[in-house]
């Protein structure tokens, strides 16, 4: 049996979580997930500004903090912290923890290969819209293939204490140690599916130990000291989800079900580079306090295509707010919205979208929210987006004047003008896996 913990559900997750995981009980592997779909474009920009950057900057200092535990207790760390510059990330880790063996997995970054791939006839069409990649080729900011668990397992086999990948799947971080420790083959689809689903269960960190859980949430103990999830994996593909003794939160089949369904598409076809997992085969069983046993998982053959994560410069957006107080707060906020729209129209400004929400009334849940009458205050939140930066910038001047020239009791205008933000959009696409060649490099 091996213990695999997840100590980071996204870049920005709780800094103490991975430290506590290595200090408060036994684990063999520590998986850390840093990359959301849009993160690659952020790190790409950082790399363009400084060739020594372009990775999750929280990661090297974390390894510095937990280095003695990694060395003394033999914990192996697997992270997709490399972003678009895994080698620079590894070098920084080595500076802070020179006694550790660090390996990187390379080959996912396709940014420089896009012209070649287009020339070879790969359309890399947008999976949502069907548009060919050539339609935005001049605006591409980053392009990466999601790589799977076997590539990470290879780095573990090279004896690395710390494995740093770029854009691998979130689930691969958990599956890789199982492949490495149990010697699973590339066609053992049921086992690979089990490890993939174990990865799905823990990839969002504490969301599987009682965080963001609707089941009797007020009774979930000690969220301030919530324990992050641990999978106790067995060679046959069954596993137990748990957390360290004495930590806060709750591991229960109800909680696991919520996380299993989180960000799920077709449950019979959960597609990864390693296999296709079938969520309708999962069997759950509460097997003790904060312990859930998972078994019965089936999977089928991996797909011939790999998914690409491409980001591109789309345009600009800005979102501004004003607060109106009782009485008739909603009426005043709606009047303000009408005035802003009329003034934008008079200026001849055109946007792809103008969107208005009434925060405190129904901004989150729209028509599904329960009705309110005459609320004590309402925040009107108006956003625009478009390709023309000047138009978006002009919009940002149209909210604050309402404090003096619009309906009464406007306040809460914060810093005055909202910021114009560049919109980097996500372009999901497919590419035959033969085009991707990965390799493991030990960084001295």
């Amino acid at each position: 049996m091996i213990r695999i913990a997840n100590g980071q559900g996204f870049w920005g997750d709780w800094l103490e979580a991975p430290v506590r995981l290595v200090e408060q009980g036994p684990i063999d592997y520590l998986a850390l997930d840093y990359l959301a779909e849009i993160t690659m474009s952020i790190v790409q920009k950082q790399k363009l500004a400084d060739p020594e950057l372009g990775y999750a900057r929280d990661f090297p200092p974390l390894i510095g903090r937990i280095r003695s535990n990694i060395r003394d207790r033999g914990v192996k760390v697997i992270a997709n912290a490399g972003g678009v510059n895994p080698i620079a990330c590894a070098r920084q880790v080595r500076r802070l923890a020179p006694e550790l063996k660090v390996a990187v997995v390379l080959g996912d970054d396709l940014y420089d290969r896009i012209p070649e791939l287009l020339a070879k006839g790969h359309a890399m069409a947008n999976m949502d819209t069907g548009a060919p990649l050539s339609s935005i080729r001049d605006r591409i900011l980053s392009a990466n293939a999601y790589i799977g668990a076997f590539e990470l397992a290879e780095a573990l086999a090279a004896g690395a204490d710390v494995v740093i990948a770029g854009r691998c799947t979130d689930t691969a971080l958990t599956l890789a140690p199982m492949i490495h420790a149990f010697g699973w083959g590339r066609d053992e689809w049921d086992k690979l599916a089990a490890g993939t689903i174990a990865g799905h269960i823990i990839e969002c960190g504490a969301q599987t130990t009682g965080g963001n859980c609707q089941v009797d949430w007020q009774s979930i103990p000690d969220l301030a000291n919530i324990g992050y999830p641990i999978v106790e994996a067995r060679p046959d593909g069954s596993f137990i989800v748990t957390k360290h003794d004495g930590t806060g939160g709750r591991v229960h089949s109800d909680v696991i079900k919520e996380q299993l369904l989180y960000e799920l598409g077709d449950p019979k076809n959960y597609i990864t580079p390693d296999c296709v997992a079938d969520f309708t085969t999962i069997q759950l069983e509460d097997s003790g306090k904060d312990r859930v046993r998972v078994s019965g998982i089936r999977g089928v053959e991996r797909p011939p295509m790999l998914k690409l994560s491409i980001s591109y410069s789309w345009g600009y957006k800005a979102i501004g707010t004003l607060v109106y107080s009782w009485p008739q707060a909603l009426d005043k906020a709606q009047a303000a919205d009408r005035i802003v729209r009329e003034r934008l129209s008079q200026l001849g400004l055109e946007f792809e979208e103008i969107y208005t929400e009434y925060f405190g009334v129904n901004a989150c849940q729209g028509p599904a929210a329960p009705p309110v009458s005459d609320p004590p205050e309402v925040q009107v939140r108006i956003g625009v987006r478009g390709q023309d930066r000047k138009a978006v910038d002009r919009f940002t001047r149209e909210l604050v004047p309402l404090v003096l020239n619009g309906p009464p009791t406007a306040t809460g205008f914060g810093d005055g003008r909202p910021q114009v933000r560049e919109v980097v959009a996500y372009w999901p696409a497919l590419l035959p896996r033969e085009e991707i060649t990965t390799r493991v490099e030990v960084v001295e």
Partner: protein, 109 residues
């Protein structure tokens, strides 16, 4: 009798691009057939009104006593394009639990 869905089920929601997914889970397995009967794609589409511009698709997971819904074109473009405060659909699950469903007294026990 009419009861809010939250009486017999819990939920979690999230995003994939411009699509919201909502997992709806029966607290007790005996209530799963009521979910299948009452919580239809058409009723979800109606419940969320103008928030959902595209189709609603339902998947069944009998092994978990759960349904998975995909609400397409529901996040104002999704991801970084969205101008919504809930750009990732985090609150849709809770919103669905307020939807009224029909069940008999004997089913409620």
């Amino acid at each position: 009798m009419k009861v809010p869905l939250g009486r017999i089920a819990h939920a979690r929601s999230g995003d994939k691009g411009d699509t919201v997914n909502i997992g709806v889970i029966a607290y007790h397995r005996k209530h799963y057939p009521i979910l299948v009967r009452e919580v239809t794609a058409a009723r979800l589409k109606h419940h969320f009104g103008h928030l959902v511009k595209g189709d609603v698709v339902r998947h069944e997971l009998e092994n978990l006593g759960a349904l998975n819904f995909l609400l397409h074109e529901a996040l104002g473009g999704g991801g970084t394009l969205s101008l919504r405060v809930d750009a990732q659909g985090k609150t849709f699950g809770a919103a669905l639990l307020g939807m009224e469903i029909e069940m008999s007294e004997s089913e409620a026990i």
